[in-house]
Symmetry: C2
């Protein structure tokens, strides 16, 4: 740490997550002594405000990282693959929000509430998990610790902002076109590079990312594999169905779990979650209190409610987990990792 903070770079500073990263660094008063806002050549030259100072966005190159101590990457997997090693070579610690290094065995994949200790084994790069994975493991970790966890079946209800600014604009454009009685011409969702695009307004698209050979999408395989890695449970049974919805911000998840301990009730789960780090319990059916994306937007917490004991399996529970996918799902967790690095004196 220099006298008054760290030299920080944000790569992908003009994107939806990059902007949230800058806002989160401000809100959390992260000690930034010097800031570089980097992007592709296309966005270079645009202006960004940070803590009252105007910064000019520069094109990210290997040389951009000279002197940088912490680099937060969120500019797509190919940018991270090309530039994260260059940043590390120049002495920076990279917190990468893409999927480029998540399953690399030499790279810790970290959600501070769950496996902060894994940061100690880093080799320069730390991966930030997929948004839908992060909120789920934050909700499940207190249960896993107390009751043991054997099975997870999750169905997601994901917001378009997870697919970037262009997807948000596409949802709004389609909604307007439908209201005016015009034809909708999708070009972004479900996957920009895919052959077919589908209407997202007033629809539900059961495809996020492209398909893998086993019929699951990459998004679904990310949830499965990342959950096992973060929880250090390669043997955990996890399955996922990931669905994109006409919601701007806030991912929701219907999660069915089975635990080892068969003696616990819904009230026990509520007690476990009510004091858990990063979790806000919103669970009172009598008051119609439960998490919803419209209420979660702009908040860093992972909201959990609708906790029910399965009617057939005494070790089965159902939960409804909601969080702002741009915050805890991305920017907030990345900055939390940076804070943990400072706290553990790893930077």
């Amino acid at each position: 740490m220099s006298q008054n903070g760290y030299h920080v770079a944000v790569v992908g500073a003009t994107g939806a997550v990059g902007q949230q990263m800058l806002r989160t660094l401000e809100e959390k008063n992260f000690p930034v002594s010097k800031l570089k806002v980097l992007s592709s050549a296309r966005s270079a030259g645009s202006k960004i405000q940070f803590n009252g100072t105007e910064y000019t966005v520069e094109e990210a190159t290997p040389e951009s990282f000279e002197g940088v101590q912490i680099a937060l990457f969120s500019a797509g997997g190919s940018v991270s693959k090309a530039l994260a090693p260059e940043a590390v070579k120049r002495g920076a610690i990279v917190v990468d929000n893409t999927s480029a290094f998540r399953m690399d065995e030499t790279v810790p994949l970290v959600v501070p509430e769950v496996n902060e200790e894994d940061l100690k084994s880093h080799n320069g790069i730390i991966a930030n998990p997929n948004c839908s994975t992060i909120q789920m493991v934050v909700a499940l970790e207190p249960i896993r610790q107390a009751l043991g966890l054997t099975k997870v079946v999750v169905s997601t209800y994901q917001a378009v902002s997870g697919a970037g600014q262009a997807a948000i604009e596409e949802l709004h454009r389609q909604t307007k076109e439908i209201a005016e009685g015009n034809t909708v011409e999708p070009s972004i969702l479900p996957v920009k590079s895919a052959e077919k695009h589908y209407q997202i307004a007033y629809n539900a698209i059961p495809q996020i990312d492209v398909f893998t050979e086993n019929g699951f999408t990459y998004e679904e395989m990310k949830m499965i594999n990342e959950t096992k890695k973060i929880m250090h449970m390669p043997e955990l049974h996890v399955s996922a169905t990931c669905v994109r919805l006409p919601v701007v911000t806030g991912h929701s998840e219907s999660v069915y779990i089975e635990v080892e301990d068969t003696s616990k009730s819904v009230d026990d789960i509520r007690v476990l979650l009510s004091g858990a780090p990063g979790v806000t319990l919103q669970d009172n059916p009598a008051e119609q209190l439960y998490p919803m994306p419209a209420l979660a937007e702009g908040k860093p917490d992972v909201f959990v409610g609708r906790i029910r004991q399965d009617l057939d399996a005494p070790n089965g529970f159902h939960l409804w987990v909601v969080s702002d996918n741009l915050l805890k799902g991305a920017a907030w967790n990345s900055v939390q990792i940076a804070e943990s690095l400072v706290k553990l004196k790893l930077v």
Copy 2:
């Protein structure tokens, strides 16, 4: 059957489902010799077209059913409770689309593709199941028959039209208000009579119908109990999480099942479903082919896709099931029941 058809009454003829019932009777060329369109006093007097003839909506009273042979009810549970027995007393067979009689042991609960034979034991009233139940059991029955079924975990993605015309209008009104930067003032969803109402535009509400004492909603308990009754499997493990979305028409379901037979593959399931009654298989990841509500609207089929074998349980499979909740979920299934009554010479 009179010389050229049946004397049919539609109760709730001005509602979203009632209108679909009339359209479905037309489209299926159901033999209607005489038609009565009935409603509450509020809607009485309005005009309805059927097969090119204009009908005047009359207030439903016990006397309305004199001479009626088949009465299709979709005007709310209290109307059915009051008037269905009156219709039966006057010689009509009632096909009731409300939840009033569904769990009555003396009332068959019928999805013709699954348990048409149950019609034979009717005592005047036949119940049409909940929309989200119908599409799921149509998709699961061929699998149950061939492989045995032991466990169902379903998470739903339900359209607002399931909550009636007022909910559709509320979604459109809120969408417009948000586009104009105005405040949203919800008054219908999740449950009109409930104390709190929540925004549905760009949101996901994990409450459909009111809560029961075990923490599940009535909608969830309907799916659980109705599935067991229709399939004659009181021992089946079923659990449900029901969620309302900003989709106008078309319910989607993420369904995880476990079967008895542990030797089957995704291809076996596809073969079972591709020829199944009422089912249209839409399952080709390579072509991005899968069911979506925007594509299902206006079609009577139950669409099934995203079929995947669970990665941990050899007897576990995941499916994505979509259908038009106003058609197969309500009007279409009711008219199908009337057709089955004719076919089985029960009317």
